[in-house]
Amino acid sequence: MHETALMTNLLAIVERAARDGGGGRVRLVHARIGEFAGVNVEALRFAFEVLSPGTAARGGRLECEVVPLRVRCRGCGAEASPGDFVLACGRCGSTEIDIVGGREMEVDYILTDDEAAGDGAER
């Protein structure tokens, strides 16, 4: 389980962005997690609950968008969402396949209050 370490990274990214973006309290964190990113979304949520109280995201909500596996054939350019982790092109049979989605582990955006939090905690 490495969701705690990942959440520490996530919260650091969120803190920096919130500070640079005016210091408003973070209400929502929208993360994109690939279906095959090796991350358990439930464990990530739990880590957020445990770790966010001491940060700019305290009291905020974590929203995880699960991104399905998406592949593109280098040969014929066909794209597909195979559902199963099989890297062969359904159209031309080539095994020269790039994974173009499904391995994400990123903070997409956050929603913050317009005004800086007034309790001085951010200073």
Partner: protein
């Protein structure tokens, strides 16, 4: 409310450190392999059996990763190669920063092939670049032939799959052909070597693969 777009990957920091490790290793002429598998698949046994063969042509150094204990480092150190043990203290994988610290504790002038034994785990190590040149995945036949499909990312990330404990094939239900086929569906360019650390069968093929890999890596 106002929206702040970020689009930053949680692994970015690890990737930066991994890139530094890679540069550091290259500057010292060291080729590095990251060995990954479930606990008990035979990573340490493979090191113990293969290093004497590899030492004929390479100056081997080892980084051991475990959650607890230094027993692996002791087993490998007994062969007489430099070894550094990382104890992750509960963390389920090695990350680039841990390897970075370990690199500062090994005499990099005295080695040219670094074998990094990751923490035994079939999920997490796949996502953490350490700065290695390639990943080697071990699957022992007693674990079952369904593992590639169940843990695809680990197999996808590997350049070589070692099917270990083939001496146990008569005693377990393991379809070699299925394991090979399904692993290659996940990673079409995967090399596969079957061996047994108990009998020594196939260890020469493993050493040959590493020889060829090191040669290719150095010519890049």
């Amino acid at each position: 409310m106002h929206e702040i777009r970020i689009g930053e990957d949680l692994r970015d920091r690890n990737r930066e450190i991994a890139a530094e490790n890679r540069e550091h290793l290259r500057a010292h002429g060291i080729v590095a392999l990251n060995l990954m598998s479930a606990p008990g698949a035979g990573k340490t046994s493979l090191l113990v059996r293969a290093i004497p063969l590899l030492s004929k042509r390479h100056a081997v150094g080892v980084i051991e990763g475990d959650i607890q204990t230094t027993t692996d480092a002791e087993r490998v150190g007994a062969i007489g190669v430099p070894v550094y043990q990382i104890q992750t203290g509960g963390v389920c994988h090695l990350d680039a920063a841990m390897v970075h610290s370990a690199l500062h504790r090994l005499d990099l002038e005295s080695i040219d092939l670094l074998l990094i034994e990751n923490v035994g785990n079939l999920v997490c190590p796949a996502e953490f670049d350490l700065g290695e040149d390639a990943r080697v995945m071990l699957l022992s036949v007693s674990e079952g032939d369904d593992k590639p499909k169940k843990y695809p990312l680990m197999f996808h990330e590997a350049q070589l799959l070692v099917l270990n404990k083939i001496d146990l094939l008569p005693h377990v239900t393991f379809d070699l052909e299925k394991a090979r086929r399904e692993s290659r569906e996940i990673q079409p360019r995967l090399d596969i070597i079957e061996l047994s650390c108990a009998t020594g069968e196939g260890l020469d093929r493993f050493a040959d693969w590493i020889d060829r890999f090191v040669e290719r890596a150095r010519s890049r």
